[in-house]
Amino acid sequence: MSTKKFIYLNRKAPYGTVYALESLEVVLIAAAFEQDVSLAFIDDGVYQIIKGQNTDGIGMKNFSKTYHALGDYDVNKIYVSAESLEERGLSVDDLMPLTYEDEDDDWAEKTSIKIISNVQLTKIMSEQDVCLSF
């Protein structure tokens, strides 16, 4: 099968709607297809990967730990909108440390998260073959 560039745009907060969870399910399946996969967290989507989520009180499954699996599936291009973080009074320190092991660098553990501007996001999006937004 040919290789295409897929980007997943995550724009919604988790738990209020299912889009965050079901988007993650798509991304994990997609990994098996060995495509070129990028994830972008923009708008309220940045809340999906915030640290310290605790869903005991709302009776829903806390799926935030699953994002840590992305590195194992070779999904390591994770873009987070600088503008979206800033508007919400958040910084990269509020985010879960998502990492991968770089096989080209003696399996060194590296961060998958890259904070990008709207201008950079625009450029990244323009290079994609398929864009799914959730």
């Binding site: 738990y15 209020g16 299912v18 709302i58 009776g59 499954k61």
Partner: protein
């Protein structure tokens, strides 16, 4: 106090049904009477006995049907599904199925199909009506 609930969205896609369930449980725990829970719009999908969530996730339909939905005096909480909204979304009990020539039905027996008048009546008979939606 006598409280009724209206739920406008289906299970899993939106938090509405989860929030309403937690609210209902808390109200009953405080000794209030839940006069009626009325499922409208996509809310009717909360009544499907076909629902099979993943093993590690909550079973919203069964939670409504089985857990904590008795009032303090031991009476059942009425779970009413709007018939007009249900039919156009493929939610049928035995009677509606046979009336419409469909060979099957999917309404959980803990729920009852009825008309929109039941929502208005809930508004009239209850001290409060609280809506949960998108």
């Amino acid at each position: 106090m006598k409280i009724s609930i209206q739920i406008n969205e289906g299970p899993y896609q939106h938090q509405a049904s989860d929030s309403a369930y937690q609210f209902t449980k808390a109200a009953i725990a405080k000794g209030h009477e839940i006069f009626r829970v009325f499922f409208y719009h996509d809310g009717v999908d909360n009544a499907s006995r076909f629902t099979v969530p993943p093993q590690d996730d909550r079973h919203i339909v069964n939670k409504w049907a089985e857990l904590g939905i008795k009032n303090a005096d031991g009476s059942d909480v009425e779970l009413v599904v709007c018939v007009a909204a249900a039919l156009r979304r493929g939610m049928l009990d035995e009677s509606e199925a046979s009336k419409n020539g469909i060979d099957g039905n999917n309404i959980h027996p803990a729920f009852r199909i009825s008309g929109l008048g039941q929502l208005i009546e809930a508004g009239i008979q209850s001290d409060r009506l609280v809506v949960f939606g998108d």
